[in-house]
Symmetry: C2
Amino acid sequence: MSAEEDWVWKALADPTRRAILDRLAKGPCVTGDLCDFFARTRNGGIGRTGVMKHLDVLEKAKLVLFRREGRHRWNYLNPVPIQRVCDRWVSRYVRGLAQSANRLKDLVESKR
Amino acid sequence: MSAEEDWVWKALADPTRRAILDRLAKGPCVTGDLCDFFARTRNGGIGRTGVMKHLDVLEKAKLVLFRREGRHRWNYLNPVPIQRVCDRWVSRYVRGLAQSANRLKDLVESKR
DNA sequence: TCTAAATGTCGCTATATGGTGACATGACGA
DNA sequence: TCGTCATGTCACCATATAGCGACATTTAGA
């Protein structure tokens, strides 16, 4: 379908990237601080290069925007794509929810 | 975080798997029919083994349940996990939406 | 100007993942 | 019983991806 959606789903697939989004949800962040955060926090730690690669992916999905300020790079969370994608998928299945509730009921009952 | 969420995100990352969910949203489906559907529909086509692998992943994420009926396997969509995950993530960023709207405004304005 | 800090980029490795064909199992029907 | 259809499982291949170190670039500050 839409290639834009594809990038969002791909970006959200990785737990480290979701952690980055969580971090950015608390407020904008300079890349270096992000790296420090993950070097300390995550199990085993992850280096600067790795963090930047993840930022690239998140940027491609437009989940993260950034602004240069001197030699600093401020990274901003952009929650809009996540909202859009989730809305689309949830609404797509809302109609199915009642139906599948019945179907799953049948499924369970037929199992015993 | 929760390993259960991890599986859901991973499962949703692949476009073929999302297509399978779309197909199942229209109603339960026997594995063979699913395979036929994707053999014909998808560009280049994807074989039975591939479809089953995807079903395994979807099952691990509990997005697909199934029931055996003789030599048939009926696959059911379970929209609950998707709903849960989306709700959690959207609500997590709802508070951030107003803030980030302002931040992004700043970002844009500072760029010119 | 010169140094160090913050970021960007490149090439490499290891593992995960999508996909296949071949073969095994299990149930239905003649 | 026996062939066949639907499914399950296995070993294998190709590519994508996460992660790293090393080096290049840019900017603040002495």
